[in-house]
């Protein structure tokens, strides 16, 4: 559900075996003692990268919407999101 993939039963069957083998291999990381080791989320020691707050033009709205599967009135059009009728 979290990954939003409508998998078929066949796909699920095959994935169970494959992912099990991959996870077993990946879990080898647990062999290392990391009690006092901080995690690295990113290889560069960059924090709070700022730029001047100057207004700049964004992408052209029509050009962007022309790439959308469905658009209407300058917006992306999607099927209903909540339970009620559109």
């Amino acid at each position: 559900m979290l990954s939003r993939l409508a998998l078929t039963d066949d796909e699920i069957e095959q994935l169970i075996g494959e992912l099990g083998a991959i996870l077993e291999y990946a879990a080898e990381v647990s062999a290392l003692d990391t009690a006092d080791v901080p995690p690295t989320a990113h290889p560069l020691p960059l924090v709070n990268v700022f730029r001047p707050d100057d207004p700049r033009p964004g992408l052209d709205r029509e050009e962007v919407l022309a790439q959308a599967p469905a658009a209407e009135d300058g917006q992306f059009r999607v099927p209903r999101i909540l339970g009620e009728a559109p």
């Binding site: 939003r4 992912l19 291999y25 290392l32 290889p43 560069l44 790439q67 959308a68 599967p69 209903r80």
Partner: protein, 473 residues
Amino acid sequence: MSAVEIAAAVRAGERSARDVVEEHLAVIEAREPEIHAFNYVLADEARAAADAVDATVGRGDDPGLLAGVPVALKDNMCTRGIPTTCSSKILEGWRPPYSATVVDRVVAAGGVPIGKTNLDEFAMGSSTENSAFGPTRNPRRPDRVPGGSSGGSAAAVAAGFAAADLGSDTGGSIRQPAALSGVVGIKPTYGLVSRYGLIAFASSLDQIGPLTESVDDAALVLEVIAGHDPLDSTSISEPARGVRDAAGAGVDGLRVGIVEELADAEGVQPDVAAAVEQAALALEKEGATVERVSVPSAAYGLSAYYLIAPAEASSNLARYDGVRYGLRVDGPDAATMNARTRDAGFGREVKRRIMLGTYALSAGYYDAYYGQAQRVRTLIIRDFARAYERFDALLGPTSPTTAFELGAKTADPLSMYLSDVCTVPTSLAGHPAASVPFGADADGLPIGVQVLAPALGEPVMFRVARMIEEAAP
């Protein structure tokens, strides 16, 4: 003709860029049906770009460092108005409204984009067999894979379709195909080259770099694409250091270490291990000292990588939801539409990684998997730092094996993942690495030797790479 020679001849007015492009298009026409390096050949666009370069030369203006050089682009780099697919059905037909910074830089330097090259879908794979548009074949031996994920890129250079290529490397995706296809491949320091417009796979690892015929060609391309970009917040703010001048400085006095965890990694072919030893001997002969060195936690690099990269990918690929671009498969409500679109649009390997990443990040498992992998990443960085106290550069194999047959590893994802065992550790550290062709195995298939250097150590990396290239049998 090498990229360096083409640029020199075009700049001097000795050859027209148009003539160079026509020559490459003729090679493409002759051999592309067999190789399938490209998703899209930019024939008309390349002719127009070449004519513009020739006009600049004709006016007596400087056409740029890459004047007239045909450059292929991995099809995960955005090109304005030109299809950019990541070799995925989910982006088929999409025409980006902007170009990647590297593409703009190549064009501004007089380079001529000649096509978009095939890749494993979303750069996930080591053979280019995961492309939704069919595999690429190795120009050296068409029954073999070219490696991956930048397999179309490596094949385009090896076949002479382009004088240079821009690929992307997350866990080895430039270096491994370069090794398997017998070309030079460079993964620069993380942050040295802008990732703006590179479609994200694993953002803390992704980096763009050149694939070329020679080390000098790679240095030329790297100088053009490197440097700070305000559009990429992970871009290093200092200017790129010159690598072209450094490359020829020799290796006299350099301390070079052979990384035991890479050289002795599981599944390294004896021919490949022997090539690393021979390359080391050649460096010694030129005045370098060579010793073996241990980077202990590097042995856990691949395990950590297959938690970190899928975790980041599962987050990055959430954007393909059928709303803003690409494929949509309709449904009665938005959530069903999202799920149907993603099931139809993504291939098997991409789904595997999304599932794996979602799992590694989920409540209850986060600390044991993703959290632990990130702490192991710290250990790898520390172990490399210790090695670089004693050594200027490190050596290892690029790929444990030479090019394998199409279909040999597609049934077993884990065996495919092991192709990256020697390239992944340095990716986790964010350091630069190069793959340089060095001889061939008993079947005549090219072998790549990998040169590793500390962050921003490109100058020393190029010195070692260039010497290995000169000494290659």
